[in-house]
Structures are given as structure tokens and as C-alpha cells.
């Protein structure tokens, strides 16, 4: 699959999905007008790709400074997909980046990671 690279806008994050290297990231802010319109096809492509992975190494970096509650649903779904991928024998690493003084963003990362068993999870503090 071709790499997907979307530049960030005021309300949508920078998206980098490199299917060849299995490096994925979301960076910036996310409160789009229509969450399904923005994430729908991205999620479908990712799901298709992850379903085909066998004994692969994969890294997903979440580096968000703000996301709204509709985006939270998408992130939850992403975590579920990543965990399923890890449970099928792939090595999955999830990095959750947050500004060091952003307690809420750190807590959100902890909340999302609670259901990860097979996937590895790192909280990464970012100094400004």
C-alpha cells in the first residue's frame, strides 16, 4: 500500500502511515468537523494492512496536543486494532507522546493503554 502522508491543518493532525516500514503516526490537534469523513478511509486502509501482517514489527506514535471526544472514539478503535495485531504474533510498539506539563494528556494515554496486553506501550514526555 502507498504511504499516506497528510499535512496537519488547524483541526486535523499530521498523518503518516508508512505501510512499507510499518511506522505510523498522528501528530498535532484533532477536532475535525466530521470524524468519520477524516478518519474513515484511513482506518479502513490501516485495518486491511494490519490484517495481513505476520511476524512483523510495527510502531505507532501518538503525538497529539489536543483531541476532542469524537476523536477519542477513533483512538480507542486504533488501540483495539493494534492490540489485535499484537495478539496475532506481531511486535507492536505504541508510543504516547505528551507535553511534560500536560497531566490530562498523560492520563488519557494511561487510560487508553489499560487494555493493551500483547502490545507494548510507552509514555513519552516531551519537554518544550
Amino acid at each position: 500500500m502507498e504511504t499516506i502522508s497528510l499535512q496537519r491543518t488547524e483541526r486535523t493532525p499530521n498523518v503518516l502511515f508508512n505501510f512499507a516500514t510499518n511506522c505510523f503516526s498522528l501528530t498535532g490537534e484533532s477536532y475535525p468537523e466530521d470524524v468519520s469523513e477524516f478518519y474513515g478511509s484511513l482506518m479502513a486502509k490501516l485495518k486491511e494492512h494490519l490484517g495481513l501482517l505476520r511476524k512483523a514489527e510495527l510502531q505507532f506514535d501518538f503525538s497529539l496536543v489536543y483531541f476532542n471526544s469524537s476523536t477519542a472514539k477513533v483512538i480507542m478503535r486504533l488501540f483495539e486494532l493494534l492490540e489485535q495485531t499484537a495478539q496475532r504474533g506481531n511486535q507492536v510498539l505504541v508510543n504516547w507522546h505528551y507535553d511534560e506539563d500536560d497531566d490530562n494528556m498523560r492520563e488519557m494515554g494511561e487510560d487508553f493503554s489499560e487494555d493493551l496486553k500483547a502490545a507494548r506501550f510507552n509514555l513519552v514526555s516531551r519537554t518544550e
Binding site: 488547524e10 476532542n68 471526544s69 469524537s70 500536560d102 487510560d111
Partner: protein, 184 residues
């Protein structure tokens, strides 16, 4: 309102610590525009970063609620698509040492009971309870579609470190004005 009343109106807003006030069509463009001024005002006022992030978050969730659910709406044709514009009121400000974000919009009378009971329920939850309900909701484990069960209100309750209040005022047989004010 006469021209000379505008100053009185402005003074009234200032008296209540209102920094931003908007009434009318609530659209995604309005949200984007006001978002930028709120971020700027918080920066200029040297607001604590966690407070500023919280205010911003309360603002986005409340405005998106109005955009999606206000029962005061007009649909018009623009080219081949129908555009629905919904109306609401927004106020962001600071009273004494706490910031507030408030929104008002019409809701249909038939939705009031559900919305009210959901909000009362959310108001009664502590931090852990809200966290659990938030997670359950984003996982899709709560029935979708009901107006008040939206994850937006749970998020508002989580971010409003100094609580939130709400009110319903009857307007006519079909509509009720819903208002919510969250503090941080």
C-alpha cells in the same frame, strides 16, 4: 437595541467577566475562528497551561454539541447539497478565579427528560466514575443515538474541574431552551 444601548450591553458582559460572546448560527467556521481568539487570549493572559487546555476543550465540546444537536435550525440548498445551520449562544469568560464556558441552545421538548437524567447522572459521578463511563462510551458499550448519552457531556464533566451546572427553560409547546455552564 438602540445604538446607545450597545455600551450598556458591553458593560453588562464585562461585569460578568465575559471574554467572548457569540449568538447566532453555530458553524464549524465559527468554531475555528473563535478557537483561535480563545487560544490567543489565554496566551496573552498568561493562563496556566492546564487551565487553558481545559477551557479550550470545554469550548470545543460545547460548541460541537450546539452544531450537532441544536433544535433551532434552518436548512438551505447550496449547489447540490443541503446545508443545515444550527443556532446557539456561547460565552467564555472568567469570574473571580475561575474560567467558565457556557452554551445555550434549543432542544426538543421530547428529549429533555433523557438529557436531564443523563446530566444528573454524570454530575453525580466522581473522577473514577467519569473515567469509567467515558471509556465505556468511546468503546461503544453504551446505547448510541440518545441525545444526552453523548461522550461530549462526559468529557465536559471530566474537564470541568470546578463542576458544571445546567438548566432547562420552556419556550413553547415543542421547544425548551437548554443551557450549560462549566467551570475550571
Amino acid at each position: 437595541m438602540r445604538a446607545n444601548e450597545l455600551l450598556l450591553f458591553r458593560e453588562k458582559l464585562a461585569e460578568h467577566g465575559v471574554m467572548v460572546c457569540y449568538n447566532g448560527y453555530m458553524t464549524e467556521d465559527v468554531l475555528t475562528g473563535i478557537a483561535a481568539t480563545i487560544k490567543h487570549q489565554m496566551m496573552v493572559r498568561n493562563t496556566d497551561k492546564n487551565v487553558a487546555r481545559g477551557v479550550f476543550s470545554l469550548f470545543v465540546e460545547q460548541v460541537q454539541n450546539v452544531i450537532r444537536y441544536s433544535a433551532e435550525k434552518e436548512t438551505s440548498c447550496q449547489g447540490s447539497t443541503d446545508i443545515t445551520m444550527r443556532t446557539g449562544l456561547l460565552m467564555v469568560g472568567k469570574e473571580a478565579d475561575r474560567y467558565f464556558v457556557a452554551c445555550g441552545n434549543m432542544v426538543e421538548k421530547k428529549d429533555v427528560a433523557t438529557l436531564r437524567s443523563n446530566l444528573v447522572h454524570i454530575q453525580g459521578l466522581d473522577k473514577e466514575g467519569l473515567k469509567a463511563l467515558f471509556k465505556k462510551t468511546i468503546k461503544g458499550e453504551t446505547p448510541a443515538g440518545s441525545l444526552g448519552a453523548g461522550v461530549g457531556f462526559i468529557d465536559i464533566a471530566r474537564k470541568a474541574t470546578r463542576g458544571f451546572e445546567f438548566d432547562f427553560s420552556d419556550v413553547d409547546d415543542l421547544r425548551t431552551h437548554f443551557s450549560i455552564k462549566a467551570y475550571i
